[in-house]
């Protein structure tokens, strides 16, 4: 997957290292090896590979990770622009 790089400095991914307990679950679930366990805590080693799928955040037992997960699909985003961020959108 290293052949495919998308835009840099866009991801909403944030890691609160104070909260991290070093369980390594984020490293396991990330499909783009964004995280690496560096004992005793995890760190973000490839931030721009993040596709904001949200797997790390939903599997972090101490909520040390936040990310705005979403659908990276153009028609979804257009509908969100038109109908507002809270609208329920049928898409993809």
């Amino acid at each position: 997957m290293k052949d495919f790089r998308y835009l840099e400095d866009v991801t909403t991914l944030k890691l609160d290292e104070d909260k991290c307990i070093g369980c390594g679950m984020c490293e396991v679930v990330c499909p783009h090896t964004v995280f690496k366990m560096e004992n005793p805590k995890v760190s973000i080693v490839d931030r721009d590979a993040c596709m904001e799928c949200g797997a790390c955040a939903s599997n972090c037992p101490v909520e040390a990770i936040t990310v705005d997960p979403g659908v990276g699909c153009a028609s979804y985003i257009i509908q969100k622009w038109i109908k507002g961020p809270d609208a329920i959108i049928e898409c993809c």
């Binding site: 997957m1 991801t11 679930v29 090896t33 799928c53 949200g54 797997a55 939903s58 153009a74």
Partner: protein
């Protein structure tokens, strides 16, 4: 664990052999105990023998009001009831079904019933594999399981694959818990582990699953084809099993669905192209609508091909990371080729129109492909759309103006 005895129902040797010899009769009637009452032999002594030989009797596993899936071989008797045992090889109808789904034909109805299945002869210590009820997901899992004894827990993801269902939150913590409780998994297996495909992780909180139903989530490989190695590896996914890939084959297989999604808007756009083509100094010319319209339609379709076929296929080799720019480039090239082919049969204004139309359509179609890739972040897509859409709109507006103006100059 006990398997259902498969005993052939004894046929009366004195029965008529009007419609077949002993060999054919042997192929005929094997009803199984737990599901059926004994079957009456199909043919009476004095029945007239006409027409072709009747087909085989209904499967003993069929029940009124239900349809038996062709991939169910038989049923395993377990403490939680009879569990369908499924085959691991795909039949012609599965492959045809995959083909149809890939073309986008009734893709949303291509599902299997959620719940518990099994492969091989699993027992209380066998692994539990969790998947989605999209038939393509189910098939790609079961075809990797020859020689493996396992339980398969199919979640109700509304017929959507694991990755997309996790994004839509139908492959979810709640659904895992609901199915685990619903099938009584704790009465079936002695261990407390579920193996989930890693791409389901966006929808699942492993620690919540553990808390709510006592089962620990083990994240399996991204691809079903690595499952065997994963199971033999002490249920540990190597780095390569945890990463998504996006090879040319994986990209091209997505193209037909992308195309099927734009058929409807395309019909409306093509109608508009033909109508606008007819506007002439004599108010409306049907011959102009037809002949100029054909050129416009061809430019539109070329744009679709450039953006929705060429861009996905050659994705890593096209310059820039923004999809809309990749689409602009392929669109410009497609447009120029078309203008060169048409030569002097079109005016200069018309060639501007065709170029802009092919380019903007290609750019938009390419931008839409971001939704099908496994590496574009929504924040990134939104950022490039803020740049791309204004450019596409300006190109289309100029195209419409030049298209309508061309007959008047």
């Amino acid at each position: 664990m006990k398997q259902i005895p498969i005993s052939k129902f004894e046929t009366d040797s004195s029965a008529s052999d009007c419609c077949g010899n002993d060999q054919q009769k042997k192929d005929c009637v094997p009803p199984l105990q737990p599901f059926t009452i004994p079957m009456v032999d199909a043919v009476d002594d004095d029945a007239p023998c006409c027409g072709p030989k009747p087909g085989p009797p209904s499967s003993p596993y069929e029940k009124p009001g239900y349809r038996l899936y062709h991939f169910v071989k038989d049923f395993a008797e377990t403490p939680v009831g009879f569990i369908p045992r499924i085959g691991t090889s795909l039949k012609g109808s599965d492959i045809f079904g995959t083909f149809r789904a890939r073309l986008g034909v009734s893709r949303d109805r291509y599902r299997v019933a959620p719940g518990l299945y099994c492969v091989g002869t699993p027992d209380e210590e066998s692994p539990v594999l969790v998947t989605a009820n999209y038939k393509l997901s189910f098939d790609s899992l079961r075809q990797e399981l020859p020689g493996i004894d396992a339980w398969i827990l199919v979640l109700d993801t509304r017929g959507v694959n694991v990755w997309c269902a996790a994004g839509k939150r139908t492959f979810s913590t709640e659904e895992v818990i609901r199915q685990v409780h619903g099938v009584g998994l704790d009465k079936l297996v002695s261990h407390r582990e579920l193996i989930l495909p890693q791409l389901g992780a966006p929808g699942i909180s492993a620690h919540k699953v553990k808390k709510e139903c006592g089962f620990k989530v083990i994240w399996g490989p991204v691809k079903a084809k690595d499952l065997k190695a994963f199971l033999n590896n002490g249920r540990k996914a190597d780095t390569y099993m945890r990463q998504v890939t996006f090879s040319m084959g994986e990209r091209m297989v997505l193209i037909p669905v992308e195309l099927s999604l734009i058929v409807k808007p395309s019909l409306a756009i093509l109608l508009a192209v033909f109508v606008l083509a007819g506007i002439s100094p004599d108010i409306f010319s049907f011959s102009a609508a037809w002949f100029r319209g054909l050129n416009g339609a061809a430019a539109y379709l070329l744009g679709v091909v450039a953006g929705a076929v060429i861009v996905p296929t050659f994705l890593p080799w096209l310059p820039t990371r923004q999809f809309y720019i990749k689409g602009l480039l392929t669109g410009v090239i497609a447009g120029i080729i078309m203008i060169l082919l048409l030569g002097s049969s079109i005016t200069r204004l018309e060639s501007v129109t065709l170029l802009l139309l092919a380019t903007s359509v290609s750019s938009y179609a390419a931008m839409n492909f971001t939704g099908a890739t496994p590496y574009t972040s929504p924040s990134g897509v939104e950022k490039e759309m803020r740049q791309g859409i204004p450019i596409q709109i300006i190109a289309v507006v100029i195209a419409i103006v030049t298209w309508v103006a061309a007959p008047f100059v």
